[in-house]
Each structure stands twice: as C-alpha cells, then as structure tokens.
Symmetry: C2
Subunit: 336 residues, 2 copies
C-alpha cells in the first residue's frame, strides 16, 4: 500500500541505506553478491526511488522545461516529439509549460524555474513578448536556455530557427511568379522575430520585383479567432483586393479558406494562398494548400541535443551553437 523507501529496503535486508543507495549507482564498493541480493528484493518489493529526494540532494532535477505558446499546433507538437526523443534517451523528463501567448504567463513560468524545478529550458517565446529581462534573469541565474523557432534576438544564447527571411521571400516570390501583383501578409506579432523576418522576406520579394507594398494588406492576427476572421474578410472585401495571401502561421489557414468561401472567392483562381504550416492535412484541403513546411521534429531534436551538451559540460558556450534549418516550400493547388 504505502510507498516503500530506501530505509524500509535497508531494514528488510539488514543493510544500511548507504549500501542500498550505492547498489543502485553500481558502486564498486559493493560486492556482487550484495548487489544481487538488493536488486532482487528491490524488484520484489517494487521499490522505486523518490526522484525529489534525489533532486534535492543532487541539486539537479533531471527535468527540462519546454516553454511554448500552445500545444494544439502541429509545429509545436512535432517539436515536442523531437525534444522528447532526446530527453528520453538521456533519462530526463520534459515539463511542458504553455504560455497561451501571454507574456504574463511566460514570466511566471520562468520565475518558477528559478526555484530549481528544471535543469535547462527550451523556449519559443509568446506572441506578446517584446523584451527579455525575464529570460536574461534566468540565464544569469545559471540555467541554460535555448530558443527554438521563436527567439529573442537580443538574448545571448543558442537559437535553433528556420530560415524565416528566405521562407517569407520564397513564399512571396512564388506568388509573384504565379502572377500575383497584390499580395497580403498575415503576421502574428510586431515584436516576434519570426513574424518580423517573414515579413521582411515578403517585403524584399515585393521590392525585388518592383511591386509596391501596401500597409492595408499587412495585418497582425491575434488570439481572437473572430477578430482574425473579420480582419481577413476586410482585406478581401477591398475593391482593389489582393490576389495572393501569405499567411505566416498555421492557425490562419482555416479562416482564410472560410472567408474565401463566404465571399465566393475561388482559390487559386481569385486568390492564391501560401501558408506556413505543418499540418498533415495540407495535401487534402480544398484546394490542397501550398505550404512553407518547417522541420519541426528536427528543430526540437536539435535544440534538445544542444541543451544536453550544455548540461553535460559546465561553462559550455551556447552562443556559438545557433543553427538555421531550412524550411521547404511545398507547392500545391492553392497557388497554381
């Protein structure tokens, strides 16, 4: 019934707790005969060491924290799989903390981490995050923290990103080459680096092809689905409306398609669409969706791998470990 602990095990075996502990760490100090005896009764009594006692004594938690905006997003859920695959191999647990795109939540989560709950952090900042004091606090406290996907430019640490500028450029150029001259850009945040870089890519592509950017066609979407729907609708109801859309985030696919349907705009005839998305169903949408597909699993895996390098060596310099893994433009029927 009650959890058995190392002391109870020691009693049962007429050994000291230190001997038991050493057995589980395969210490050379303990004879093979004793090791066997301990292991056997431990298995019989179903002894499992208390991780918090170990954490306390060893001053490490064997947990890594993953701070992300949402889990109901295919990029992040795939990235989690990547992270988990390496954490498991290292005997670590993954504590997933959701900010729900709120800066306040993000701050509170990192604050909690100061207490030693995790040994390292992988993070994708919230949409609202525009400064990084809370992050620098954590890092200067000695916790290794690595960004993936959504980074804070001004924090000195490893950043695993994809080529956001190029992706924004490629998506836009693709639409231009398909004959679009007015192209809308749906971003998610002024401050967010990925949104900014994708926007820059978009703007550069327009400039390179001597197309004029129109502020009315660049909008920022929010957490409020209704608001996004209305904003997209407004863009597509202008008399001089865009004939192409670059949506910089997966969540916007559905509202874009819905608005087009309701306004009786045909994709791709009337409007061509490219969306940053990792959705499995992109290929079977109506019409199938041209996407910028990010290497989600790989980004998570890479970020975690680098984090463990930092956990294994002390004074490991993370700044030099940044990596850019390219995304792929997958052309489908929504743009051609």
């Amino acid at each position: 019934m009650k959890n058995i602990n190392i002391k109870a095990l020691a009693c049962e075996l007429n050994l000291s707790v230190s001997t038991i502990s050493k057995v589980f760490h395969d210490s050379y100090e303990i004879s093979d005969h004793t090791k066997q005896r301990v292991l056997e009764t431990a298995a019989r009594l179903n002894y499992v060491p208390n991780p918090y006692a170990s954490s306390l004594r060893g001053r490490k938690s064997k947990n890594i924290g993953v701070v992300i905006p949402e889990v109901a997003d295919s990029f992040f859920s795939l990235a989690i799989n990547g992270i988990e695959s390496v954490a498991k191999e290292k005997g670590y647990h993954v504590l997933i903390c959701l900010t729900h795109e709120s800066f306040e939540n993000e701050k509170n989560i990192l604050k909690e981490f100061q207490g030693g709950r995790v040994d390292g952090v992988l993070m994708s900042v919230s949409r609202e995050t525009s400064h990084s004091d809370h992050i620098n606090d954590l890092i200067s406290n000695g916790l290794p923290l690595i960004f993936f996907d959504r980074v804070c430019e001004d924090v000195q640490t490893a950043k695993i990103t994809t080529d956001d500028f190029e992706s924004g450029y490629n998506a836009t150029e693709h639409l231009i080459l398909q004959g679009c001259s007015k192209i809308a850009f749906l971003g998610i945040s002024k401050s967010l680096s990925i949104s900014g870089k994708r926007l820059e890519g978009y703007l550069n592509a327009l400039a390179d092809y001597e197309l004029k950017a129109d502020k009315k066609n660049i909008i920022l979407c929010t957490n409020d689905a209704k608001h996004n729907y209305t904003a997209i609708k407004k863009i597509l109801q202008q008399k001089n409306k865009p004939t192409g859309i670059v949506a910089s985030v997966e969540k916007l696919t559905t509202p874009v398609y819905k608005v087009c349907e309701m306004l009786k705009l045909k994709i791709p005839k009337d409007v061509k669409v490219v969306c940053f998305s990792n959705l499995d169903t992109a290929a079977i949408l109506n019409p199938s969706l041209t996407t910028i597909t990010q290497p989600a699993f790989e980004m998570g895996k890479t970020a975690a791998t680098i984090l463990f390098k930092a956990l294994e060596k002390t004074n490991f310099n993370l700044t030099g470990e940044s990596l850019v893994i390219p995304s792929a433009l997958v052309v489908r029927n929504s743009s051609s």
Copy 2:
C-alpha cells in the same frame, strides 16, 4: 548568480528559517510587520522556493501525470488544454508522458510514478494495452488514476469517455441513410475499448438495417503509415468494394483521402467517408469531412476536475464518478 535559498533569506533578515517558511504560508503566528519585511526582501533577492524540497517534506509533488499515446493529435492536444486549465487553477503542474502507443513505454512510465513523482494520473491507454496489472499496481499503491477516452474496462476507477457505441452507430447509420450498403470500418486495436465500442456500434447499425457485415471490410490500422495506406488501398480495390468508410481515428483521414485520389474514387460519389476527428481543418478539406467530433477539451477538463476531488478528499471513491460526454456527428460533404 547562485540560487538563493530560505536559509540565505533568513540570514539576510536575521530571522529563523521557520519564520520565513511560515510567512510564505501566511501563518497566523507571524506578525504583519515581519511578513511585510520578509516578502519585500524575498522579492528583492528573487527568492523562489525549491519545489522538490517542499515535495519531499510534504510528501506530495503538486504534479499530475498525463499519460497519452501521442501529443500530435488534435484530440489529445485539446484534452491537454482542458487538463492544464484546471491544474493551473489548483497550482499544479502537468507532466505529459507519451507512450507512443507502446505498452512497454506505458508500463515504464507508470512504474516511475510509483516513486512519488506525481500525486495523481490522467490516462488514455496505448493501443497495445490489453491488460491492466500495471495500472492496478499503481492504484493499489494509493495513487488516484482516472481514465479519459481510452479506458481499461476492468479497472475500478472513474472513466471519462464519450459515447463511443452511439457514435459508431450514428456514423454508420448516417452512411446507410445516405445509401451505402457496404461499409468499411477502420479500427485501431482489438483490445482498445473505444475501438471495440465504436466497432460494436457499427455492427449494430448494420444489423438494425439488415446489412451483412463483411470481415474483409473491418481492418485494424497500426502505427506504420505505409501499412495503413496499403490496407486501405486493398479494401478499396476489391471488385465488390465498400461505398462507405467509417474511420475510427483522426490519423486515418489523410490516407483515406490519398488512396481515393490515387484510385480515382470520388468522395462522396464513389465512397462516402465519416471520420472520428477533432481537426480544425475538417471543414475545409476536399471535400469537407463529415466527422464525429469528440468533446476533447471538456473531457480533459472533467477528468482533471474529478482527479482533484480525489486529491482533496482522502478515501474518495472514484468508481462512482464515471461520466459519458456525447460526441457530435457533424455532417459535411464527404458523406452527402
């Protein structure tokens, strides 16, 4: 640089550690004046209590474990949101553990929980799980465990499910009423209760409408995407092939659509499709997908709420708390 602990705080303030601790628990033993003083310098020095030390002494972790097969699945990611919403309110953390549909993984995770890592467990069993010794071990050890969605029938505890039998029945009946006389069923596991109940519903609907069930049209899909694709293809290549498909799991949507495309079968003209799915994009698929949509968020939230009831009262009888929350059949173009 280094983490400040309660002793350092006590030193700084010329107080004892017990006093500091009591301040953080708002003990009546401490004067308001002292409380203020402590709170102020705690904030100034950025003191955050070590959760593991508290866990150790208090013999509770303030963590709940969520054991699920995958996170890259809209049902589970929505359920996580539901769980997290109530955990956060209660000041708990959520430890998400993925089985990847492996029984071995599931057993290891529950074994680890014996060590006291979590105070309670919410669980959706893996596809491979066919017996429940590992679960009963945990429960008889005193850990409250609640199932959601995928349950073990023979474990005595609360089970938050949806009306799988009715949903299977409704999906099948719907196809029958749309004129299908041969209907295939794509399951995921022989042992899994949800798969079994949905299958039963399917079989009962066939029987009620005096249609013969054909074993060749009932298949079990696996973790291997290629295998599933081939199996679905085989079904749709029979000369007496089905004109309707009930897919009992979200992941099968894409292969069904892909196979139909490659075999030049039109949905819904040649084959009508209903899928158990919570995908946001169901409405914009080609054609839009008729779904059985589960109350994912609500199921997670309900399961967590009941778990906390058990955590708050001792000797709370979970068996009586089972709940069935109905799913909805959302008819779209893939079936009409």
